[in-house]
Symmetry: C2
Subunit: 201 residues, 2 copies
């Protein structure tokens, strides 16, 4: 049954409260879509008044942005590439972590993607950052040199590859029949060089 509805008000430090609300927000994304995540629902679940949410986040949009940002940070952290190793191998490790992240956090990830895709520019920008964290490194040059030459066409293609990867993972997770996890990873990994090969010029 859990606790009874709050009797005495509890006073937390702003950092703790803010963090609690954001965590709860991200957790609730597994159950509802972003715009079903109303102020009412969150206040109810958190056991606080609606007014408190408006105290910490000026309005619903700001709150949504903060939640999406936290979810994106989760994703970025979980798919961080290893510090060392072959550039292509590091990318593969990252992609594998991404696939596994989506598989385990499917519902929440879906809400994140849909919310960002359907939302305002700010939301899309936040999600773009997460994508870039995954893909930008193919342009970053290190001791071994750059993997892909940085041209407008190459940027475009890599961005397209990221969109394709997202679609592949989401679709596969919804119905994995006929394709194994390893085959999926192979498709994604092999796609990037295959696509780079079609860049004109």
């Amino acid at each position: 049954m859990g606790c009874v509805t709050a009797t005495t008000r509890v006073r937390l430090s702003p950092e703790e409260r803010r963090s609690q609300l954001l965590d709860l927000g991200v957790r609730l994304l597994a159950t509802r879509s972003l715009d079903e995540l109303s102020i009412d629902v969150l206040a109810e679940e958190a056991g606080i008044s609606r007014g408190l949410l408006y105290h910490y986040f000026g309005n619903k949009h700001v709150f949504h942005e903060a939640v999406v940002r936290r979810a994106a940070d989760d994703l970025i952290a979980q798919t961080a590439p290893p510090a060392s190793g072959e550039p292509l191998e590091r990318l593969l490790t990252s992609v594998t972590a991404y696939v596994d992240y989506v598989v385990t956090n499917y519902e929440g990830y879906l809400s994140l993607v849909k919310g960002a895709a359907g939302g305002n520019d700010t939301l899309r920008e936040i999600y773009d950052e997460a994508r870039s964290a995954l893909t930008d490194r193919v342009f970053r040059e290190d001791a071994q040199g750059t993997i892909i030459t940085d041209t407008p066409a190459a940027r475009l293609v890599v961005r397209g590859w990221a969109a394709m990867t997202e679609e592949l993972v989401i679709t596969w997770r919804a119905d994995p029949s006929g394709v194994s996890r390893e085959e999926l990873l192979e498709i994604i990994a092999a796609s990037l060089p295959a696509l780079v090969g079609v860049i004109p010029g």
Copy 2:
């Protein structure tokens, strides 16, 4: 200045009225996003009462679905492939029409995509139909035979290719610098065979 605000109520046949409201809805998508397309706004623009919208479409969701369906039908009609010709050439013609459609109807198309992506299952399904209209033919076998063998992995890859194509076109249209329309078309067209090549098995 246009006409003054309606003085006498005009009575249309249900078909005419319904059609008028849907057309207006699609047209307004070039200016606002789907969820900024409120009942108030539409009624105002159409010069009718809010109640009438509820008479024709039970609620806002249903109205939005109908608008998206009409916009998707537009897209499908405009990108219909020629009846005859080489399968691959027919696909290229379709893709070219798709690119040109997005270029000219950019704002409205963005609203369509965002609305479908961020919306409920019904909305996504409608948009999926439009995508399928563009891509399914690569599996259809005709006199020349099938272009791509129909397997779960192939279905997945073609779906990914469609998502990539959408991302490429939208991104390119937002900032075409550095890549010409012909190069874009070349990238998209060459991508499909390149991706089919990475299918395992």
